[in-house]
């Protein structure tokens, strides 16, 4: 009997976190690599010459504020869920979704601002094309984030998000914060490098 207990006591359980959360982080890593590749391509291309410098659309700053606010409301939704304030979770998620959509509209407007400045996607100056690629690809990822947010919002309507069931809203928050951070990175990158 003593012997048998030794068998049980000897090996330790392995360190682990929730697989789905972990997979989300890995997905984020792959997105980071995609944008790292594109921004380094931007720098390599810039060193190559034939470069057009232009003013960034002014609305970018506004959009940055909007996306930062949405991160804030996302966080408020999460802390409300932790405290079981279910009504507030719904509202905060809804505001986050609206701010996300507002951001996308703002990014779209930035494209027409660019066109007014004669910066086109199809041109012989890669600097212009890159801006469209950055905003466009980021926008696509943001749409995926919005879909995730909407799914989370629907779960909150069904009262499935509360202090004892935080996985979904935690993952949603991680992804949304990442998308916001990614935009801030792109914006600061362009501010310094264009």
């Amino acid at each position: 009997m003593v012997n048998q207990q030794v068998h049980i006591g000897e090996p330790k359980a392995t360190l682990s976190m929730h697989p789905k959360k972990f997979a989300l982080w890995l997905f984020i890593v792959s997105i980071v690599m995609l944008f790292a590749a594109l921004t380094s391509a931007f720098i390599v291309k810039q060193a190559d010459g034939n470069w057009l410098s232009f003013k960034l659309p002014g609305i970018f700053l506004l959009n940055t504020i909007v996306i930062a606010m949405s991160s804030l409301t996302m966080h408020l939704a999460y802390s409300a869920a932790k405290k079981d304030l279910l009504q507030r979770v719904k509202w905060m998620l809804l505001i986050t979704v609206s701010l996300g959509i507002l951001f996308l509209i703002g990014q779209y407007i930035s494209w027409s601002e660019l066109i007014n400045e004669n910066v086109y996607f199809v041109s012989n100056y890669a600097s212009g094309s890159f801006i469209y690629i950055f905003t466009g690809l980021h926008g696509l990822h943001l749409i995926s984030g919005l879909i995730f947010l909407l799914i989370t919002f629907i779960s909150s309507l069904r009262l499935k998000i509360h202090a004892k069931n935080l996985l979904q809203i935690e993952m949603c928050m991680t992804y949304w914060h990442f998308l916001g951070g990614l935009w801030v990175y792109l914006y600061v990158f362009l501010l310094f490098n264009l």
Partner: protein
């Protein structure tokens, strides 16, 4: 401690019950979420692609070995790609070379190798019921399948498949008017690769998550078999490098179809200037090789992991330098990301930069050599059992040495000026990466076939397959070193117009004949494989007397792998021929307290400590 274990037993019992659902044919064999079925799907798809990729190489070897031969007899298969004079169409020759490379590198040695063995072995060897997400895993295979379909169809379209080389350098690949293969064929290539990248990322995320989070009780990182370590690092490399290829391909797609100028500049076609200005084709090379070089290790590392496992098992000795093996693989993983520009020494890069990349490249020789020495020292004075899997593993080590040595030449930026884009390069990477990874895959199939299908493959046919392949591959690629040093460029349709190369006509014919024989030997494997699935001898539970967890499952493990509770791990996987032990292997599930006769000093101490703890 004991009480938590009891809780888990109950959990598992509930889980087992959940697994007892009945599958119909479609959920069991087609849209399966079981990692073992998905692994088999990958394996069969990989074999299918290997046959196509191999066949394409035979066609262009015919052209190279026998430039005057009549190829009229190929017309039923190749149609208008055989010209009216009975020759191979020169543009289609380029398509053949391109597709051979693409298929072998991505569809066979990435999807076929990692897809098969990561899927099959990760849950079985770490003691998990399945992958972290079975659904994502299934999705990964079906993305690969759709990608395969697109790539396969591109072989048959009128303008031919992509023909700009597997590296698809622009401007050749970016301009449909450059060659017929850069039209629809190239578009399909890009679509297929985009799908392929999605598939690889889905798979890789799953592998990493599973290895980190779903290890069974006791399976610490330093008790993992080296196979799992290699799959783990391979998946990390893929996760970090494939998105970069995606970025490169995305910009190429915009250049091709939307008129941007990321890669295009100052191009005249037929005397007419293109509007594109200011692009940089070198930019593409940087982005491509940032994936392209790590890709080499994505192909090779799983093969090395499989080999470590098989060599240790069949030498009946612990692997020599277990931690050194892990550190070497870590070193290779890190270094693989900082050497990409050695593919671009002659692209006009700054020679100083070249010397930095040369230094980093040559440093890779260190971990690679550590691995080779560890294989050899594991074999040294072992009770070697020459199973077919073991022979293929030893063959891998041989190829890794002979191909790796030439890496010292081509990694040198000065010598590379002479050797760049010659057959020397072809010989180098076909030995060190192509053949070595292929042998690793074959070794894996022979070794784990009993676990996959519950039956044994015929070992006599395995020996014949090995010897013809081994000798054949050396006969194919060794002469290419000489041809390359003489200055033969790769991807050339014909050499008959150059007097300097006429002395090599016989050698080229020899290579082609050897290639045909080597390919024919693979048909032996094919027969053995499919025959054994249905008619092979039934396999015992642990045919190779191996220590790892997969051999503690039933002969044909069901969904969930272990019928009862999950096994618990008490020791590392390489306790072979431990002095004092009753048998020459001690499975990972045997506790130290059951083997007092063979415990080493520190192990005996652990047991004593635990016993005193229990008593108090």
């Amino acid at each position: 401690m004991a009480s938590t274990v009891v809780d888990e037993h109950i959990d598992h019992a509930v889980e087992d019950h959940a697994h007892e659902h009945h599958d119909n044919f479609i959920t069991k064999y087609i849209f399966s979420t079981d990692h073992k079925t998905i692994a088999k799907q990958y394996l069969i798809s990989g074999i299918f692609w290997a046959l196509i990729g191999g066949f394409l190489s035979l066609v262009f070897r015919l052209q190279l070995g026998f430039p005057n031969a009549q190829l009229e007899w190929l017309r039923p298969l190749m149609g208008k790609w055989i010209t009216t004079t009975g020759k191979l169409d020169p543009e289609f020759y380029l398509a053949l070379v391109t597709m051979h490379g693409t298929i072998m590198v991505f569809f066979v040695l990435t999807a076929g190798l990692s897809g098969t063995f990561s899927n099959f072995l990760i849950p079985l060897q770490i003691g998990a019921r399945d992958m972290a997400s079975g659904f994502m895993n299934m999705l990964s295979y079906w993305f690969f399948f759709v990608s395969s379909v697109v790539m396969f169809i591109s072989l048959f379209i009128e303008t031919g498949p992509a023909s700009g080389g597997w590296v698809i350098y622009p401007p050749l690949s970016a301009l449909p008017q450059a060659m017929s293969g850069s039209g629809l064929g190239m578009t399909m290539w890009l679509i297929a690769m985009a799908l392929f990248i999605v598939s690889t990322l889905l798979g890789g995320i799953n592998y990493i998550t599973t290895i980190i989070n779903l290890r069974t009780i006791g399976m610490s990182f330093l008790k993992l078999p080296l196979t799992i370590w290699s799959f783990f690092l391979t998946a990390i490399i893929g996760l970090l490098s494939f998105p970069v290829l995606f970025g490169a391909a995305l910009l190429l797609i915009f250049d091709r179809s939307f008129g941007t100028s990321f890669y295009l500049s100052d191009i005249y076609i037929g005397g007419e200037a293109l509007p594109n200005m200011g692009g940089s084709p070198i930019l593409f090379q940087h982005l491509f090789w940032f994936l392209g070089h790590p890709e080499v290790y994505i192909v090779l590392l799983p093969a090395l992991g499989i080999t470590s496992e098989i060599i240790a098992t069949n030498s009946r000795k612990p692997i020599f330098g277990y931690k050194a093996m892990i550190i070497s693989m870590l070193g290779i993983t890190v270094l693989s990301f900082v050497v990409w520009a050695h593919h671009m020494f002659v692209s006009g890069m700054n020679p100083f930069l070249g010397s930095i990349f040369m230094l980093l490249t040559l440093i890779i020789a260190v971990p690679s050599a550590v691995k080779v020495f560890n294989y050899l020292t594991t074999l040294w004075k072992g009770n070697i059992i020459f199973t077919p899997a073991m022979l293929f593993s030893i063959g891998l080590v041989s190829f890794f040495i002979s191909g790796g040595l030439t890496g010292l030449f081509v990694g040198n930026s000065a010598i590379d000026i002479q050797l760049h884009d010659t057959y020397f390069i072809v010989a180098h990477f076909h030995l060190v990466m192509g053949s070595a990874a292929f042998f690793g895959m074959m070794a894996g199939v022979y070794h784990w076939f009993p676990k996959m299908f519950g039956r044994m493959m015929d070992s006599k046919l395995g020996y014949i397959h090995f010897w013809i392949s081994f000798v054949g591959i050396y006969m194919v690629f060794f002469p290419m070193h000489y041809i390359g040093i003489a200055g033969f460029p790769r991807r050339y349709y014909s050499f008959t117009n150059f007097d300097a190369f006429s002395t090599f006509v016989d050698l080229n014919a020899f290579v082609s004949i050897a290639a045909i024989i080597t390919f024919a030997a693979q048909l032996i494997f094919l027969f053995n494989f499919f025959y054994s699935i249905f008619k092979g001898k039934k396999a015992p539970l642990n045919p190779w007397h191996s220590n790892t967890l997969e051999w503690t499952t039933p002969r044909l493990p069901g969904h969930g792998n272990w019928p009862g509770e999950l096994p618990t791990v008490h020791r590392w996987p390489y306790d072979y021929s431990k002095p004092g032990a009753k048998e020459d292997f001690i499975p990972q599930t045997v506790p130290l307290s059951e083997t007092p006769e063979s415990n080493l000093q520190h192990e005996a101490k652990i047991v004593a400590e635990l016993k005193s703890k229990v008593k108090s």
